[in-house]
């Protein structure tokens, strides 16, 4: 295959063309008299006549860099600048929306303090396009895994730094209303994930180790774990509810410990069952790829089976095990959102509150941290895996 580096960047071209269309045709923000109405659309081009010279200069500079990146796809310095510009562009979108919201709030302070400026389809589309183009620019730098993951994570840094500029936006007001719930919801979400993952590791890894010794166990248990993984989350919560409720009635002691048909118990139990498959499977693969010669050498050195396990087999299996652990943690973080339906709380409850009360920004307030947590976990375990693999290789 032809691997000559291309000079022009069709990905950026497509993103820019789509961005132009989104800026023109989709409402950037919406201004509504209160939080439940969808409001009047405001388009980005409507602001063009009123832009100050500084903003125009910054825009021109940014566009200039992007146009350069468009035709110089093979130059890393240009692509790095493009990533920088796009990352700043993400923050600029937020600043622009926040600025508009502040001016609207100021103008309506007297007669309608309930006025809301919410982010429109245009904002979300442009933000997604900027992020995708930035990802593409980072990919073109052809970095090693670790720096790439780091750079991908810092793409949001300018946006995070300028977060306070959006305090008059509807989503910030939802956050202010929920501020006493928001922190505990994140803590609860993490609690659910940890309560499911920790026992899954404690059960899963020894189980996998037994399976390497006993093929029968493997033949009976792996298909069962496969079937569990197939059952949809909401169904598994439901299937666990009835037996747990029955158990709580039969043994009031358990009920006092917090075990019941609703709440944390069915949620954590279901998530634990889901996490078992990736963990067992990866631990199994990890233990099996440990070279027989290494184990034999360790034994010949006089190591006890326990020492062989702790000092040879487990460390060598760890990189593969981490891949499964990553899958399990990312999956559990997402599924923990669904546990709100059985009353386990967490960020999912904010999301479903928003969904059931038709408050779109409240939905986003629940969804964004869930997605960020999942992405963060994904990046963390990928980075950890690369760090561990380097000395072994």
């Amino acid at each position: 295959m032809d691997t000559r580096p291309e000079r022009w960047n069709p990905v950026l071209a497509l993103c820019m063309a789509l961005a132009l269309g989104a800026a023109w045709g989709l409402p950037f923000v919406r201004v509504a008299p209160n939080r439940l109405l969808s409001g009047e659309p405001v388009f980005l081009w409507q602001w063009l006549p009123g832009t100050s010279a500084w903003v125009a200069a910054a825009l021109a500079l940014g566009l200039g860099v992007l146009c350069l990146a468009l035709v110089q796809a093979h130059r890393r310095a240009v692509q790095a600048s493009a990533a920088l510009v796009l990352s700043a562009g993400l923050a600029a979108l937020w600043l622009a929306a926040g600025h508009h919201a502040s001016s609207v709030s100021l103008a309506n302070q007297a007669d309608n303090p309930l006025v809301r400026t919410s982010l429109g389809a245009g904002f979300w589309t442009l933000a997604a396009l900027a992020w995708m183009a930035a990802l593409d620019a980072v990919a073109r730098l052809q970095l090693k895994t670790l720096p790439r993951l780091l750079l991908q994570s810092t793409l949001f840094a300018p946006l995070l730094l300028s977060l306070s500029a959006g305090q008059d936006l509807s989503i910030a007001k939802e956050y202010a209303n929920q501020s006493d719930v928001f922190g505990p919801a994140i803590v609860r979400h993490l609690q659910i994930v940890l309560l499911a993952i920790a026992p899954a590791v404690v059960i899963g890894v020894p189980l996998a180790w037994r399976m390497t010794r006993e093929p029968r166990l493997r033949e009976t248990l792996l298909p069962v774990l496969n079937v569990i993984q197939t059952i949809p989350s909401i169904a598994l919560f439901g299937l666990l509810m009835a037996p747990l409720a029955w158990l709580a009635v039969q043994a009031p002691m358990l009920g006092r410990l917090g075990i019941s048909g609703v709440g944390l118990a069915p949620a954590v139990l279901a998530l634990l069952l889901y996490a078992l498959l990736p963990i067992v499977r990866s631990a199994l693969a990890g233990l099996e790829q440990v070279p027989v010669a290494t184990v034999t050498a360790a034994r010949a050195m006089g190591m006890t089976p326990r020492q062989v396990l702790w000092h040879v087999e487990l460390p060598l299996a760890l990189p593969v095990l981490l891949i499964g652990l990553r899958t399990a943690v990312v999956q559990t973080t997402g599924l923990a959102a669904v546990t709100a339906l059985v009353g386990a709380g967490g960020l999912g409850s904010i999301m479903f509150d928003g969904l059931f009360s038709a408050a779109n920004e409240l939905v986003m307030l629940g969804v964004i941290p869930i997605v960020l947590l999942a992405l963060l976990a994904d990046h963390f375990f990928k980075a950890l895996g690369t760090l561990l693999e380097t000395p072994a290789a």
């Binding site: 509810m241 973080t333 339906l341 869930i370």
Partner: protein, 260 residues
């Protein structure tokens, strides 16, 4: 998802058949099982879900999954194949990154985000399911086309096959098993997400679960959960069998193409 080697095919036949039979029997039989559930849940005044016929919910659930999966498979495969062609190669790193990152997004989140865009009902469910189902198919298509060994491509080219023929005669048949694994993941995830889609107003087998959860009716939850679980397991078993059959055919056709 790759599976460990299994037992003889005849045993599998039975298993799929039995799961399907149980699914249909329960879907049509549960509405007539009031005495059983009244005995199991004596505290509930209405122990059997009768708002809509469960069988009808099953077909609606299946319809939603089939439609969204068809869209996802079509778009995912097309995008994946396009990105492996010389003209679309520039999009490949981005598509790979998006497919990997997109799958860390919880399906519920996509469902919830689709509602502000298009409102309640079947449409947000369809959009979310199609979008989310697209990612595993895209990833599997890219991986599948990539997995074709270089010597195979080179010998195909040496035989004088045009790039188009190389794609249709060698790359696509050889990529099929991996592609099917992606389709399988996509469909199974969609069956589960379609159940949650009843929270955004789509009528699916998730409806009895959601109604039961909000009304503290564990019997409703149980009825919905058993049906959704059986549906997902049947689909998984069906894919298992399809994968076996494909494995045979693929090695066969690809071998013939290249040896003839």
């Amino acid at each position: 998802m790759a599976k460990a080697p299994r037992h003889s095919p005849r045993w599998w036949n039975d298993r799929l058949l039995w799961t399907l039979a149980a699914l249909l029997a329960l879907a049509y039989g549960l509405p007539h099982s009031t005495p059983v559930f009244a005995a199991l849940f004596p505290a509930l005044p209405r122990p059997v879900y009768l708002q809509e016929p469960l069988a009808q919910l099953l077909w609606q659930h299946l319809g939603l999954v089939l439609l969204s999966s068809a869209i996802a498979i079509l778009l995912g495969t097309a995008a994946g194949v396009a990105a492996t062609r010389p003209a679309g190669r520039a999009f490949r790193p981005l598509l790979e990154a998006l497919a990997a990152m997109g799958q860390t997004f919880p399906p519920v989140a996509i469902l919830a985000v689709a509602v502000p865009a298009v409102g309640f009902g079947e449409l947000p469910a369809l959009i979310a399911l199609s979008l989310f189902g697209l990612l595993p198919v895209l990833q599997a298509t890219l991986a599948g086309v990539e997995s074709v060994p270089r010597p195979v491509l080179e010998s195909a080219r040496a035989m004088g096959l045009s790039p188009r023929h190389i794609l249709t005669q060698a790359q696509i048949p050889l990529a099929l098993p991996l592609w099917l694994a992606g389709v399988r993941t996509s469909v199974i995830v969609n069956i589960g997400t379609a159940a949650i889609a009843s929270t955004v107003g789509a009528k699916t087998l998730g409806s009895p679960i959601i109604v039961g959860l909000s009304g503290f009716n564990t019997a409703y939850v149980l009825q919905g959960a058993v049906l959704v679980g059986l549906l997902a397991i049947s689909a998984d078993l069906a894919f298992d069998r399809l994968a076996r059959r494909l494995q045979w055919n693929t090695t066969d056709t690809a071998g013939k193409t290249l040896l003839n």
